[in-house]
């Protein structure tokens, strides 16, 4: 096994708002060199770094919008999100929970701060990821996996180092509950100060990490501060992270989907024709209907 080294440490780009409820830094695909092709199967990553939202009776969020051709994964670190979709699913993503929504052939959804959270106001911190689907799965029926924190795989690290939460993929012999179409590892390393964790993924996998809390050092030589993104080289397999203070780190590693990408707005397909079809299908109601 060889060491997988950090290729670059990327500072959070300027934030923008998605709707009025998500104050995000877009790492993938908007920040060089994190293009969709480079990061596949992770084709979009918006990070709402910790931000205080004042109390309101009108929950902030994003109104009805469609998706086709991929999965949206929402990881709630702080705050709660209520969501509804056109297949009739609705629920609340609680603090520490994950929603894994497979848009596939098409879905409409809306996401708002949960009512009570909005009323009280508070710190809000989320990651929203888009995970691409292979061509063969892009037009399968949509589905939806709510994953509570308790359902995640959990590996305790030795010496009171903390633990690893496995959302998808595998850490040592611990598997994550999310069902995926290709190999996708999404894991939270929740480390105490001085805690260390070793990860191992195939060299070809696109691998990265995002520091949600605290600060870490990777392989003993690359510091990655709070809210920074660490991109790994596609060489070597193993890396070690060590927490310089109590830290939370999102680890992403997935088998790249080597297919053409045609993306426009909320649709990610393989060709321009499929994109045009997506707009047409959305416009004539083939994604269903959802009240705003």
């Amino acid at each position: 096994m060889n060491t997988k080294n950090i290729a670059s440490v990327i500072a959070p780009p300027a934030h923008h708002f998605v709707g009025d409820g998500f104050r995000v830094h877009n790492f993938i695909p908007g920040t060089y060199p994190l293009s969709m092709q480079r990061m596949s199967p992770f084709i979009m990553l918006d990070y709402n770094s910790k931000h205080y939202f004042s109390p309101t009776d009108t929950p902030r969020g994003v109104g009805v919008h469609p998706h086709r051709g991929f999965e949206t994964v929402t990881i709630a670190y702080r705050g709660k999100v209520a969501h509804h979709d056109s297949t009739g699913n609705h629920g609340v993503i609680g603090e520490g929970d994950v929603q894994w929504m497979t848009a596939a052939s098409g879905i409409l959804h809306k996401e708002y701060h949960e009512k009570e959270f909005a009323k009280a106001g508070g710190d809000f911190q989320m990651v929203q990821l888009w995970v691409n689907l292979p061509a063969i799965a892009k037009m399968t029926p949509p589905k939806y996996q709510p994953i509570t924190n308790e359902e995640m795989g959990r590996h305790e690290l030795p010496d009171n180092g903390g633990f690893i939460e496995v959302i998808s993929g595998q850490y040592l012999n611990i598997k994550g509950p999310a069902e995926t179409f290709t190999s996708v590892n999404l894991q939270n390393a929740k480390l105490n100060k001085g805690g260390k964790a070793k990860f191992s993924f195939p060299a070809r996998y696109n691998t990265a990490l995002l520091v949600i809390e605290g600060e870490i050092i990777v392989n003993g030589n690359n510091r990655v501060p709070l809210n920074h993104f660490g991109l790994f080289e596609n060489e070597g397999e193993e890396f070690i992270i060590e927490a310089l203070e109590n830290s939370v780190v999102l680890i992403l590693s997935g088998d790249p989907i080597r297919e053409p990408i045609a993306a426009h707005g909320p649709f990610v397909m393989n060709s321009r024709e499929e994109l045009i079809q997506a707009f047409e299908d959305y416009n004539v109601g083939k994604f269903g209907y959802l009240e705003d």
Binding site: P141, I276, F279, Y282, N283, V284, G285, K286, Y289, E291
Partner: protein, 198 residues
């Protein structure tokens, strides 16, 4: 102005050399969302070509209600003809609804382009006929068609605008209420949504 250059060469069949001559010295501008290129009552003799972004032309009725006449996304032209060709005060506001890059075409642009290129003359004539055809169709739809027929025509003309502009603007363009538009979309979903298909 890459989009305008491409428009001239690919749509109107003007040679790269002539396109370079015609675009030399043309004014371009960056218009922020919410800013106006022209207001009701102004005499504005420019026609605007949208490089990037999205413009709309609308009018205000006596009750102060907006009625949208036209949207102009990338690659579209928009103007008030009373103003641009007849030197009369404009009936319309032309406003950016996204940050937009715009090429300002002066009234003599068509004459210069037609003088330099027969292809452009043919293109311009056909474009004018096509524009009138669309206006005829729009009058016909507004006078007698169902809200659904108007919506179906809208999405053919502007396939991606349903995701770029608020519902009330689409409703305003169609001459229906936002609730009426919601009913149309709900009814279409009822007919076309097949849950669980693969």
């Amino acid at each position: 102005m890459p989009t305008f250059d491409q428009h001239l060469q690919e749509k109107t069949g003007i040679s790269p050399e002539n396109a370079a001559i015609l675009t030399e010295g043309l004014r371009t501008g960056l218009i922020k969302k919410g800013e106006f290129l022209s207001r009701q009552g102004d005499v504005c003799d420019y026609t605007f070509f949208v490089e990037t972004g999205l413009l709309r032309a609308y009018t205000l009725d006596e009750q102060g209600k907006e009625h949208i006449i036209q949207f102009a996304p990338e690659g579209w032209l928009i103007s008030d003809r009373s103003s641009a060709y007849f030197n009369e005060p404009s009936d319309f506001f032309i406003e950016a609804i996204e940050d937009s890059e715009v090429v300002f075409l002066d009234p003599a642009f068509n004459d210069r382009a037609s003088a330099i290129s027969t292809n452009y003359r043919h293109f311009n004539n056909l474009a004018l006929q096509n524009h009138i055809r669309h206006l005829q169709k729009r009058i016909n739809l507004l006078l007698g068609a169902t809200a659904e027929a108007r919506y179906l025509d809208f999405i053919k003309t502007y396939p991606d605008l349903t995701l770029r502009v608020p519902q009330w603007m689409i409703a305003s363009f169609l001459g229906i209420t936002p609730e009426g538009l919601s009913r149309v979309r709900k009814e279409l979903a009822r007919k076309n949504f097949k849950p669980g298909r693969s």
